[in-house]
């Protein structure tokens, strides 16, 4: 195969694919953050903790209840989403009338509490989680050997992201969501129960974070710190994509994963900061983000 900038194309393609795996997680999480911000005006700092919670619940239902990966893929997002919905009803709901800063501080505090609790109960070390039997092995792609499970992560994340996008852009429920993002009191005056919609939206997006947690369990160690490591990057992704755009969050998440992967091949020492460099450049040129609406 030919070379590009002295790199064999096969190696490049391999890195692109690996980047897409990280990008899948960025996309799933930044999608939820963008929807929550658009609808609830909440900067959800607890998103990483919900992702960690999802991974832990996956591990717990396996170790304690013997529930395997596939049922967990359905059950865990529901459990985590219901937990999120309860948090919205009990706490966040009371903070909508006051400055955004309060909900930001609340979710930040919640993340610290959750992480601290899990650290206290389970310790800092990671818990291993096996790759489900059906997804073990590797795929021979010609340019690389891709572990089947990682291919599955990309496909599952993409499917869920695209489905969410379709629901928001193409359905009646999505029209309610978009309208309520613009003018909640008018939508409410039309007879739609906006507070209930906010609870469901928050629960759903937290459930997405839980889903990402299930996908992550067999790849990364299930550990209390796994969320806070990731959420900083995801916030950078959301800032780059622009807070307001759902499709933008998905595309930005995937592309930044790829950019990060490519940086690993060309200049490995910059790979952990490349996303922040992109963020600085985007903020200088387009402060509202790549897909954000300029005020």
């Amino acid at each position: 195969m030919p070379d590009i900038f002295g790199m064999p194309v096969a190696v490049l393609l391999g890195q692109v694919l690996l980047g897409l795996i990280n990008g899948s997680f960025y996309a799933l999480l930044s999608l939820g953050l963008a929807i929550i911000f658009g609808m609830l005006n909440v900067i959800n700092f607890a998103h990483g903790a919900f992702y960690m919670f999802g991974a832990f619940v996956t591990w717990m239902v396996m170790s304690w209840l013997g529930l395997s990966y596939w049922p967990a893929l359905v059950v865990v997002p529901i459990v985590v989403g219901a937990f999120g919905a309860a948090i919205e009803r009990l706490f966040l709901k009371r903070l909508y009338q006051v400055d955004h800063l309060y909900s930001l501080l609340f979710t930040f505090g919640l993340a610290l509490v959750m992480e601290g609790l899990f650290r206290h109960v389970f310790g800092s070390a990671g818990k291993p989680y096996p790759v489900p039997q059906e997804l073990t092995g590797v795929l021979k792609l010609g340019f690389m050997f891709l572990p089947v499970y990682r291919g599955w992560v990309i496909i599952a994340a993409l499917l869920v992201c695209v489905a969410t996008w379709l629901v928001i852009e193409k359905t009646r429920l999505g029209a309610y969501l978009r309208a309520a993002t613009e003018n909640p009191s008018l939508v409410q005056a039309f007879g739609i129960n906006v507070p209930l919609m906010l609870t469901i939206t928050y629960g759903f997006c937290v459930g997405l974070a839980g889903f990402a947690g299930v996908l992550a369990a067999p790849i990364y160690q299930v550990s209390p710190g796994m969320g806070s490591n990731l959420i900083i990057i995801v916030f950078a992704v959301v800032v780059i994509g622009g807070m307001g755009s759902i499709g933008g969050a998905i595309l930005t998440g995937l592309s930044l994963g790829v950019i990060e992967g490519l940086t690993k091949t060309f200049y490995p020492s910059a790979s952990s900061i490349v996303i922040f460099i992109v963020m600085v450049i985007v903020l200088m040129l387009r402060p509202a983000g790549l897909f954000g609406r300029e005020a």
Binding site: A175, R178, I192, V194
Partner: protein, 237 residues
């Protein structure tokens, strides 16, 4: 006269607040079934606030507000529409993230007897064939028609119409005036806030004048037409 007809809306000593700012100071008025009643008054008199208070968009309120006997103050804001109230706001409230078709079908149907799409296009031919256009790309007049059309679709039979002709060209005003006459003929009950007196008197039965959050005068349409000096004194023109 009209008082013998069935009372639909009754506001008695209605007060409301935006945060700390007290805007309605004991508004009292009523509307009977099938009437078109206007609220006139200077800028800032509280006309829009009266509508927003009826709809429950302004939450901090006191006093009495009933529609067909239902206590509006005790009704949660998302249940007000189900009593048959349809709100066409002054700023029109067309959503920029929704296309025309989505804007039109956004408000849920609340009662049977709402207009079908063909009736709506007959009333407002400009809206036909614009389904995929972004709502806010329509002209001001078309946005006003869309804001009215989406409420007529729901079967709401008590319409709050806030300054429908504001900023529109005379030809469009005529079209909206014709639509209003048709709506009245259909038996809808309407509160109209309007600065354009010619438009207001074309279809209204009665007029209230508001000032500083209170109703300060009331006219039948005949009286208003014959006594323009009195209303002009109120409006300061």
């Amino acid at each position: 006269m009209t008082d013998s007809r069935e009372r639909r809306l009754e506001l008695k000593g209605l007060h409301s607040w935006y945060g700390e700012s007290h805007v309605l100071h004991g508004t009292t008025l009523h509307v009977n079934r099938g009437e078109v009643v206007t609220i006139l008054g200077r800028n800032g008199a509280g006309k829009t606030t009266t509508m927003r208070t009826i709809m429950g968009i302004v939450r901090k309120r006191k006093g009495e507000a009933r529609l067909d006997g239902h206590d509006l103050i005790a009704t949660p804001p998302h249940k007000v529409a189900r009593l048959g109230l349809g709100y066409v706001p002054e700023e029109r409230g067309i959503f920029s993230s929704l296309n025309v078709a989505e804007n039109l079908t956004l408000p849920p149907v609340v009662k049977s007897g709402g207009m079908g799409l063909d009736e709506i296009y007959e009333l407002f031919p400009n809206l036909e064939g614009r389904d995929k256009t972004v709502g806010t790309r329509l002209s001001g007049g078309e946005q006003q028609m869309l804001a009215m059309a989406r409420i007529l679709r729901t079967g709401a039979d008590f319409i709050l119409l806030d300054e429908p002709t504001e900023g529109l060209a005379p030809v469009i005003v005529d079209e909206i005036a014709k639509a209003l006459v048709k709506l009245k003929a259909l038996g809808l009950t309407i509160i109209l806030v309007e600065q354009n007196l010619k438009f207001a008197t074309a279809s209204a039965d009665r007029h209230y004048v508001m000032d500083q959050g209170q109703v300060v005068d009331e006219f039948t349409n005949e009286r208003l037409v014959s006594d323009m000096a009195r209303i002009n004194a109120h409006l300061g023109v």
